[in-house]
C-alpha cells in the first residue's frame, strides 16, 4: 500500500499540487485520472522521489519515503518499477540488454540465470524473438511492452505507469492495460497508473482517483465513476461523444 498525505508542490510560484491525500491499495490497479496538465505526472514524480514535494508525506507500507535521505531511498527504489510515458528505454542497448540491465546492476546472477529471467519477462509481455532489436526498431506498443518487462524484471513490489497507453491505437492500448492489471494481480503489486483514457478507467480501474487542477476531486472505482454526480468529474468523463452515448 502507498499512502500520500497532504502533498503540495509548486514550480516557481505556480502551485501544481494542492494538499493531495490518497491511498493506493496493494494487489490492485490504482488509477490517477485527470485532464492533461492537471498534475498527474507531477504527483507520480513526487511519489517516486524524482520531485521533492514542498509539503506532505509519501509512505510505502509504513516506511516514510519522503523523510528518508537519498541513500535510504535506494533500498525502496530497488522494489520499484516504473513505466515512463515515452518508454525511456536505453537506446544504446538491445531489448535483451534493457531488460537485463536492472539484474546486472543489482543481482549477482550468472548470465544464464539473467537471460532466463529476461526471456521469462519478455514472454510474459508477449514479446518473443525481439531480443536483439534496438529501441529504434520497435513500434510504440513494443516499446511499452519492453518497458513493462524491464520494470518487472526485478520483481518489484510497487509499479508506476505514466500514461502507459498514450500514443497507441485503442486495441494495443487495451492489451497494455490488461497486461498491467494482470501482472498486478499475479504478483500482488501496488500499481499506480496515470491516464486520461476513459477506456482504461472502465477496463482496469479498481480504484480511481480524480485530480482536477492539482486538487484531489473525487475517489471511487470503475462502477461508481459513471454514476457520480460530481460536476468536474462528469465534464471529464463525458467529454467524448462515445461516453455521452454510453450514458444514454
Amino acid at each position: 500500500m502507498i499512502e500520500v498525505r497532504n502533498i503540495s508542490k509548486s514550480f516557481k510560484g505556480h502551485q501544481v499540487l494542492k494538499d493531495v491525500s490518497a491511498t493506493f491499495e496493494k494487489g490492485q490497479t490504482n488509477l490517477i485520472i485527470g485532464q492533461s496538465g492537471s498534475g498527474k505526472t507531477v504527483l507520480m514524480k513526487c511519489l517516486v522521489g524524482l520531485y521533492q514535494a514542498d509539503q506532505g508525506q509519501v509512505i510505502y507500507d509504513d516506511r516514510v519515503f519522503s523523510d528518508m535521505p537519498e541513500y535510504e531511498r535506494m533500498n525502496i527504489r530497488k522494489e520499484v518499477g516504473m513505466l515512463f510515458q515515452g518508454g525511456a528505454l536505453f537506446d544504446s542497448k538491445t531489448v535483451e540488454e534493457n531488460v537485463m540491465f536492472p539484474l546486472s546492476m543489482f543481482t549477482n546472477q550468472s548470465f544464464e540465470e539473467k537471460l532466463e529471467r529476461v526471456n521469462f519477462c519478455l514472454r510474459r509481455v508477449n514479446l518473443e524473438n525481439a531480443n536483439k532489436l534496438h529501441p529504434s526498431e520497435l513500434s510504440g506498443g513494443m516499446i511499452k511492452r519492453v518497458a513493462i518487462a524491464r520494470a518487472i524484471s526485478v520483481n518489484p513490489r510497487y509499479l508506476f505507469c505514466d500514461e502507459p497507453n498514450s500514443g497507441l491505437d485503442p486495441r494495443t492500448a487495451g492489451v497494455i492495460d490488461n497486461l498491467i492489471s494482470e501482472i498486478t494481480e499475479e504478483y500482488g503489486m501496488t500499481t499506480i497508473v496515470n491516464t486520461h483514457d476513459m477506456n482504461s478507467v472502465l477496463q482496469i480501474g479498481e480504484k480511481v482517483v480524480f485530480i482536477h487542477e492539482g486538487n484531489l476531486w473525487w475517489t471511487g472505482d470503475k462502477q461508481q465513476v459513471l454514476k457520480s454526480e460530481n460536476k468536474e468529474l462528469n465534464k471529464f468523463i463525458f467529454a467524448s461523444e462515445l461516453t455521452r452515448r454510453l450514458k444514454k
Partner: protein, 244 residues
C-alpha cells in the same frame, strides 16, 4: 554563475562515488576507451602530422639571419609541439570531437527520461554515466598526446626533407638540443587536467539539459564553448604553476 559552479561541483562529487557494480564499470571503461580514444586517433594523427610540418616550415622561413643556425628549426618545432600544440590544441579539438558527443548523449538520455529511469531503478546516474568517461579520458588522452607529439615531430621532419630547407642531421640535432624531460611531464599533466574538464563539463551540460531535441543542441554548444574557455584558462594557470 556561482550557482552553476556549485551545481557542477555537486555533480562531480556525486559522480566520484564508488560504482555500484565493479564488473559493469570495467565493461563501460573498456567501451569508453574505444569510443573516446581509439575513435579519436585518426583525427589526432592527421592534424598532428600537418601542424608539425607547418611549424617546422614556418620556423625555417623565418630564419633569414646567417647568425641563427638551422638546427633552431628542430628545437623550436619540438618546444612548441610539446609545450603547447599537442596538449592544448589537440585537447581543444577533442572538446569538439568528444565533448559535444558526451553532452548530446547524456542530454538525450535526460530529455527522454532515461536518466529518471536510472534513478528509479536505484542507480546513481552521475556515477553510472559520467565516471567511466572521466576515468577513460584521463587515461587515454595522455596516450593520444604522446602519439600526437611523435607524429608532429615526424611531420616536421618530412616537411624539412621535402622542402629541402633543412637537412635531417640539422633537424635531429635541433630536436635533441637542450632537451628538458620535465616538459613532457608538463604536457601530460596539462592533458590530464584538460581531459577531466572535457568530460566532466560536457557531462554536466548534458545532465542538466531540460526540454527537447533543440535544447540538447544548445547544451552541446554551451558545453563546447565553456570547456574551451576553461581549457585556455587552466593552460595559463598550469603554465604559471609549473614552468615559471
Amino acid at each position: 554563475m556561482i550557482r552553476t559552479v556549485g551545481k557542477y561541483v555537486l555533480l562531480v562529487r556525486e559522480a566520484f562515488r564508488r560504482p555500484d557494480k565493479g564488473r559493469v564499470f570495467r565493461k563501460q571503461l573498456l567501451f569508453e576507451f574505444q569510443s573516446l580514444g581509439i575513435e579519436s586517433l585518426g583525427i589526432v594523427l592527421f592534424i598532428s602530422a600537418f601542424t608539425g610540418g607547418i611549424a617546422a616550415l614556418q620556423t625555417a622561413y623565418n630564419i633569414d639571419s646567417p647568425l641563427i643556425p638551422l638546427t633552431m628549426v628542430g628545437f623550436v618545432t619540438r618546444q612548441s609541439i610539446i609545450l603547447e600544440f599537442s596538449p592544448t590544441i589537440i585537447s581543444l579539438i577533442l572538446v569538439g570531437k568528444v565533448g559535444s558527443r558526451i553532452t548530446s548523449e547524456i542530454g538525450t538520455m535526460k530529455v527522454t527520461e532515461q536518466i529518471d529511469a536510472l534513478k528509479i531503478m536505484g542507480v546513481n546516474p552521475a556515477n553510472y554515466l559520467i565516471l567511466p568517461k572521466i576515468t577513460a579520458a584521463m587515461i587515454i588522452n595522455p596516450i593520444l598526446i604522446i602519439f600526437s607529439i611523435v607524429i608532429s615531430l615526424l611531420g616536421g621532419y618530412l616537411a624539412c626533407e621535402f622542402s629541402g630547407l633543412v637537412t635531417l642531421a640539422d633537424y635531429l640535432e635541433g630536436l635533441r638540443f637542450d632537451f628538458e624531460p620535465f616538459t613532457i611531464t608538463y604536457a601530460i599533466v596539462k592533458t590530464i587536467v584538460f581531459a577531466f574538464l572535457i568530460t566532466s563539463v560536457s557531462g554536466f551540460y548534458g545532465y542538466y539539459t531540460e526540454g527537447g531535441a533543440l535544447d540538447v543542441g544548445n547544451s552541446s554548444t554551451k558545453a563546447v564553448v565553456n570547456t574551451s574557455i576553461l581549457i585556455i584558462l587552466f593552460d595559463l594557470i598550469l603554465t604559471q604553476l609549473m614552468l615559471v
